[in-house]
Symmetry: C2
Subunit: 205 residues, 2 copies
DNA sequence: GCGCCGATGTGACAGATGTCACGCGGATGT
DNA sequence: ACATCCGCGTGACATCTGTCACATCGGCGC
């Protein structure tokens, strides 16, 4: 098991970051970057074609978000261990990522020097979770919002009126008002805009 | 002038990205990374202490945003040429960055291989502007919002009521309503939330 | 079965929001 | 000097929002 080369798949939508990470990790003698993709919906195909040991996925990607890509990967290529890397430490991301069966989750604040070590740990079968994020996740807990409330809040993000939201979700305007009122109450906000902000910050959307 | 080493200052709040860029650019024989900072308000001090030729600044940073940092740099150390690098191609950023006197502006979608070449061009006195961004900037034009309208919209981002905004900006509630009404009209929106979204997308905030 | 809860809806009401007309003063350009 | 624009404000008005009480219906647990 020692002296083996770790085959790595890299997925990040920002070419500059992707390239820089590839160069940096490629310098490690025991790591070989075998695939680089910039879209979430290219991940599975690249993985099947290059059979990496570890897949390093960004959460935010066009086409398909990293978490969904991770879930797909688990289904189509269960042997590949996934390490999620993300810009923002939204607690909701962590929860969803864990459900998708990822092996590790770190934020981009992690010192660059440590990344190679983390990749090795992941390859060795360890779980690596950013401790600050894990704490945040426990603190913020599960979403208190029901499915409908979440839908309504999501629809409210774009700034439409109750009538707009009602049309979009095929509900009556009064019902939309009720859900929004409930969501506002549960988030401790005083307006819909504030509720949207709070829910987003907690990863409930 | 040839065969000289380009001294580079790197500023990005994400340690992973910063480190990866430093490693990658450090591999170039004619580039030396002489300073790495993660906060906008550390840029000037680091620049004065290490006298770099080129400063590569991210727009989004805690403490002080990259554009303001670039303006400060221009004042305190006018010899240093600034290259802005950013995640999102908000047209407003480009305009403000140009006003701050930066020498180059590229998005993080730029292929990693090109970055070293761009740094060399910047050092050689060239201007490097992402062409897609430049076009977008022309298309979206200058902000139609007055200073006050912009302030009120900015304050409205957090989701507070008119009364909250009035308190924050020391205005009367009626005045806040007027500015918001004007901003809503100018952005073609129908609610404040929509106006905030439109203004953000156009880089007017 | 019975109770509870979430989804859905209605009606009513106070308060917030968006629009409009209008006023005043200061800065700026011609 | 004069017009014009912006900053700042007031008052009035229609509409939208947020809250509450209440009702129906379908699951789900016990």
């Amino acid at each position: 098991m020692t002296d083996r080369t770790i085959r790595l798949l890299l997925a990040d939508d920002q070419a500059l970051v992707r390239g820089a990470l590839a160069t940096m990790l490629g310098l490690e003698p025991d790591i070989e970057v075998v695939a680089e993709v910039g879209r979430g919906d290219d991940v599975v195909a690249a993985a099947l074609g290059t059979s990496p040991d570890v897949a390093l996925l960004d959460v935010e990607m066009p086409g398909l978000d990293g978490i969904t890509a991770a879930a797909d990967l688990r289904e189509r290529a269960p042997g590949i261990r996934v390490l999620m890397v993300t810009t923002f430490g939204r607690p909701g991301y962590l929860r969803r990522a864990m459900k998708a069966g990822v092996a590790g989750f770190v934020v981009k604040d992690t010192p660059a020097k440590r990344l190679a070590a983390i990749v090795r740990d992941i390859d060795a079968g360890m779980r690596v979770i950013d401790p600050a994020l894990a704490a945040e996740s426990l603190a913020s807990g599960d979403s208190p919002l029901t499915e409908r409330e979440t839908e309504v809040l999501t629809s409210a993000q774009s700034g439409g009126t109750n009538a707009d939201i009602a049309r979009e979700l095929h509900l009556s305007e009064g019902t939309v008002r009720n859900y929004l009122s409930a969501a506002i109450g549960k988030t401790g906000a005083r307006t819909r805009a504030e509720a949207v902000r709070v829910a987003m910050e907690n990863g409930w959307l």
